[in-house]
Symmetry: C2
Amino acid sequence: MIVGQGRSNGQFTPCDLCPLRQRRGLRAFTADELAFVKEFKTDELRVDAGASFLREGTRSEYLYTVLHGWAFRYKMLDDGRRQILNYALPADMLGLQGALMREMEHSVEALTPLTLCVFPRAKLWDLYSRFPSLAFDITWLAAREEQLIDEHLLSIGRRTSLERTAFLLLHLFARAEESGLVKDNAIQFPFTQQHLADTLGMSLVHTNKTLKRLMLSRAVRWKDRVFEVVDRAALAEIAGEDVAPRAPRPFI
Amino acid sequence: MIVGQGRSNGQFTPCDLCPLRQRRGLRAFTADELAFVKEFKTDELRVDAGASFLREGTRSEYLYTVLHGWAFRYKMLDDGRRQILNYALPADMLGLQGALMREMEHSVEALTPLTLCVFPRAKLWDLYSRFPSLAFDITWLAAREEQLIDEHLLSIGRRTSLERTAFLLLHLFARAEESGLVKDNAIQFPFTQQHLADTLGMSLVHTNKTLKRLMLSRAVRWKDRVFEVVDRAALAEIAGEDVAPRAPRPFI
DNA sequence: CGGGTTCTTGACTAGTTTCAAGCAAAGTGG
DNA sequence: CCACTTTGCTTGAAACTAGTCAAGAACCCG
């Protein structure tokens, strides 16, 4: 099966051996739920970094859960201006909007090589009628996505460029931490400064200068794609607030 | 029953006589669904303009649907900077996040005198297990809310102040139109310029000047609280794109 | 070892906020 | 019924923030 720019994975990770299940902070499935999800997942997809596998204006036949890698949701204006809306990490769901509404109103691009679990939208109704608990989880995930964008909107609308930059880095770091990607307060960051600029709603040059200013504070280091939080309290101070740890979350 | 700053309504509109049901563009209920929703709605609430009936940091025991009036969702920073996230009109649902997650991460304020249908979160599980179709609708509403914020984020992050202002006015006008509040391309607009500024992520002064510039184009008029779209094509031209008409939507 | 992408920097320009002040309309209370 | 207060709107000037342009350095990949 070929979907978008991705290709079906040689491997297929069975849901009962799902590596994400090991993670703390994820709600456990009952045996029935697990059996259903195993059948709900019809494929596994690999997408190259840089490829958009969901596109604004199209309707997707599939829902995805990130199994491995980073992706980002974005929208573009006609003249090429791009706004990155949010990032997706392992256990995050993508494409729900496209499954529910007429068509996608944003696109999604792989930031790193991506592995996705593929669920056909045709079976979504089955899920809702047979597993209200899973339906609840999906709604939960949609509500959480909304929360993240709300926070982002507050940042872009009302925080200064320095606060905003500090907050974004802290936010991304905290989410990476949840995903177990952080070791010794450091992490391999897949972003270019252009990604950050398009997320922060600032120009590339100004992002670069703001980042430099932030580095001067010695709260963080970012060199050669490795990002390190040296002094989290100081970073939170600059951002204006820390990112609260999250309660356990569902995933499908 | 007293909730927040509101008070229980003397009247209680029964769901089978719901005035919103008359509106085109809303999905019809089956008899079973209607019977359930009638029982799901336990109260009707009136809130004064200016009162926040849902607050960041609290957990709400209720879900609401707007029956009459305007409200807005917002977040604030410690020092008082405010970002308005989105507006709610009749048939929009509020408080879902608070019902699903630990606590609200935004507040909601009545922009005009508001009438709300009140649903206890305790019965939400009932809805999910007995009426998958309604569960689906709730997820749909959550996904649509996300879409609106995505668009808003694109605006604030990447549109110029003039485009952004034009787009917001067009967006609000289009939604008011869907709600049947527009007559002769004109409508009673409940916003102050401060509301618009806090929505657009701009200062009050700059909002005022941008608005003035927009009026100069003669595409819109806004005087004494009455907003009128004189030349929609011209307004859409300034905004960069028109707001597409929406497909029929569910509501509860 | 090229050639492309990403990062960095300075100089200049445009956009936005802040400050300050005045005005108009609406609401309040003696 | 009329001062008086409050709220919202408007405007100009000055200060600051952010964007654009341009060019060179650093890095990465085949």
